[in-house]
Symmetry: C2
Subunit: 454 residues, 2 copies
């Protein structure tokens, strides 16, 4: 079926689709907040019923945390299955006063629907569901399709992570569709070619048992703020490269083909300044931005706190310091080895008179990198080209992490296919999140066009 | 009059002295808190009336802040006057719940009087007043004596500082008595031979306009925490010496005599660890502790804050950082030059993509160093020896600052004579501040013995 017919299919169901999308958005499914657990459970049940009604064998799977939905529609047993991942949990809504209309009362303004989760990820998973329903109605889907829609993506996916091995048999697939990303700022269709993994660290430093008078003890007492600064400053060399020995072990440089694809959408310093207020001068300034974000690991200080921070002054030698770090790691690097490399390094940095404790060292997940020559990617590109024939497809090696994707890929044996129709304007995670009808429809068309081929 | 007679003088008045000391302590004269301004004013009036009654021409001098008390008792015009400085303002009392008895309800437990200000400085200035009264009663005081007792010592002495030039004529003196310090931990009588001055700095760093996602921007965006850490780490070299060029300009090394006196009370690392929980490994570890504290300047990080500091993690690239610094400077160094040296250095350290603003650069005051051979010091030593004949006198080049002392010395032309009977156990600035009857009486005896000679 060509694009035009999927457009008609959408138009015919449009009223219903938008109505049900709004219903989905009314669940205040803030996953991280225990006070919203009942809303999360109700939202999961609503999804189960929806998919049940669409022809799936669907159930809500209880976990120690929020439940996830597993739904399966058996197809031709000779063809490999399609696994689709999404999440129904949404970010908290603070500051509530900044919302023009309440976050869980979906409201149209011009062509945009405003609500928490309008895009991330309820909007994107819902156009995917609607497209699958239209494929079924058009008898264009003979593959087995499996949905896994969880309720903890915004805070680590712990419950799904733990449950996944037990569900291994029920999620074997050829492709793993994840529609949880966006397009580049021009709006050109964007195919995610890689994700970084993540490691998180926290350490505390302790000098004296209490803050000391900076006059009486100045020149005598070790200063925890100074120690923390020295440790943090030692993490990078003057070129912006991480200075911990072994930190780059396992990094695989981009191939010529990857370089060409990645360099095709260059970063303009002017655009970057307009969006962030600063210049792209972090990391290794001598390397092209796409390589720094997409193909190299980072070690960022997320928080550094020591001593007095209130108004005026307090002449103390701080006794304690707190350092929070996170590393984004790339495909080829072993998270377990790297977490050891970093913690060992940190432990060796405490100066005389200061003790160090590593209070957290957590593996979020490994990096992922997809083969640009994989046949499945060609299908994705074809579908994207059909949705937006006038715009070149952008190949993006993403700097962010969706740790559950690597796990799902590993357990299911599926090749992840990550794309999405989000945009900076959607303001996900912020007040007044929204998703336009146009973006939603493009997502619907893309999903239908991709799977109708198969 | 020998010591015994001053002891009897104290015993005869003991009931009255202790009663009036308690009255003095009942004023909740927390100078820094505007809500306590009326208490400060009432306390100043009480002091004026007290000194008036004791034979002084006394008045409360209004300022833009808290008033100070000026009191003068004319003596033999051919003999130089004695100026005595003290303060009636006290530190805040938080955390209130940690006080065994309310801070402004003086309470005796064993031989200690517990109250905010019991020592600092109400206890010490009050024994001084009482000793002067006994000297007058015994007709042993023919010098002009001038009191300046202010209400802003705990937060910078701004009002007195501003008023001082106008009062220059009324405070000309030979000696400036300041009883606002303590003894070494052994309790041996301690003569302060120097004070450090103080400079204070605050600067803020700004990268992006808002915290950025550490995945999407990691490798691109400059990190304000990393910049702050690098700046703070650059302030000292590996030996603990301040690395800012010119920072040690004007420092005068201790003379042989000063070294001998200072080294006579060595710092034991064990005692230091017992008192602070850490080792004396700050500053220039290759130099003796007395030299690091008494004869060298320091630059301490008082506060360093950037990014997330709450529970769990937040994977951001911090957009802002706050650095609070203070320098203790020594006699011979010019505060105005040094403040310029440090601010210029800081301004040059902002890396690409990060802007810096110096939000505070404040001169507290210069350092002071007293001549060990000054004849007045010999009198002090004699008086101290008479109070504690069994203990050697400790000469201490103090690391802390009392900025108003340098100003008072400059305007009055007087030689500062700093001693005091405070002790670590008194817990000044902390809950359950106290001062023992023994310490109070020693202060009384010392003051009487010192001035009776003259």
């Amino acid at each position: 079926m060509p694009r035009k017919q999927w457009e008609s299919a959408f138009e015919q169901r449009r009223e219903d689709i938008l109505h049900d999308w709004e219903t989905f958005l009314r669940f205040a499914s803030i996953g991280t907040d225990p006070a919203h657990k009942a809303e999360c459970e109700a939202c999961a049940r609503w999804l189960r019923d929806r998919l049940d009604h669409s022809g799936f064998e669907s159930r809500v799977v209880a976990t120690a945390g929020n439940p996830f939905v597993h739904a399966l529609r058996p197809g031709n047993p000779d063809k490999p299955a399609i696994l689709i991942y999404g999440h129904y949990d949404v970010q908290p809504v603070d500051p509530l006063e900044d919302w023009t209309t309440p976050p869980f009362e979906p409201t149209w303004r011009k062509d945009r629907l405003y609500a928490r989760g309008a895009q991330d990820n309820k909007g994107q998973i819902f156009y995917t569901i609607c497209a699958i329903e239209s494929l079924i109605a058009a008898q264009k889907l003979d593959r087995t399709v499996i949905f896994i829609i969880e309720g903890e993506e915004e805070f680590g996916s712990d419950s799904l992570n733990q449950a996944l091995d037990a569900w291994s048999d029920q999620i074997q697939a050829e492709a793993l569709l994840v529609h949880d990303t966006g397009t580049v700022s021009s709006g050109a269709p964007t195919l995610i070619m890689g994700l970084r993994g993540i490691l998180q660290f926290e350490c505390t430093l302790q000098g004296a048992t209490h803050d000391l008078h900076s006059g009486i003890h100045g020149g005598l007492a070790p200063n925890a703020a100074q120690a923390a600064a020295a440790i943090c400053a030692s993490l990078h060399d003057a070129t912006g490269r991480v200075a911990i020995p072994g930190f780059y072990d396992g990094v695989i440089p981009p191939s010529d083909r990857e370089r060409t694809l990645a360099a095709a959408s260059p970063l303009s310093p002017e655009t970057y300044r307009a969006e962030t207020g600063t210049t792209p001068d972090g990391g290794q300034r001598d390397l092209p931005p796409y390589e720094r974000v997409g193909f190299l690991p980072t070690l960022e200080i997320n928080g550094l706190h020591s001593g007095y921070g209130g108004p005026g002054s307090k002449t103390i030698i701080p006794a304690q310091a707190l350092i929070k770090l996170s590393a984004r790691i790339v495909h080829g690097q072993d998270p377990a080895t790297l977490i050891e490399t970093v913690t060992q390094y940190l432990k060796e940095q405490a100066p005389p008179g200061i003790s160090m404790q590593i209070t957290q060292a957590h593996i979020g997940g490994p990096g992922l990198r997809f083969d640009p020559e994989a046949p499945l990617l060609a299908d994705v590109q074809q579908a994207l080209a059909a949705v937006k024939p006038d715009q070149p497809i952008v190949h993006r090696w993403e700097g962010a992490s969706i740790p559950i994707v690597a796990r799902l890929a590993e357990v299911s044996g599926a090749t992840p296919l990550l794309t999405g129709f989000g945009h900076e304007d959607d303001r996900i995670h912020a007040p007044n999140e929204s998703f336009s009808l146009d973006q939603f429809r493009n997502g619907f068309l893309y999903t239908a066009l991709l799977l109708a081929q198969r």
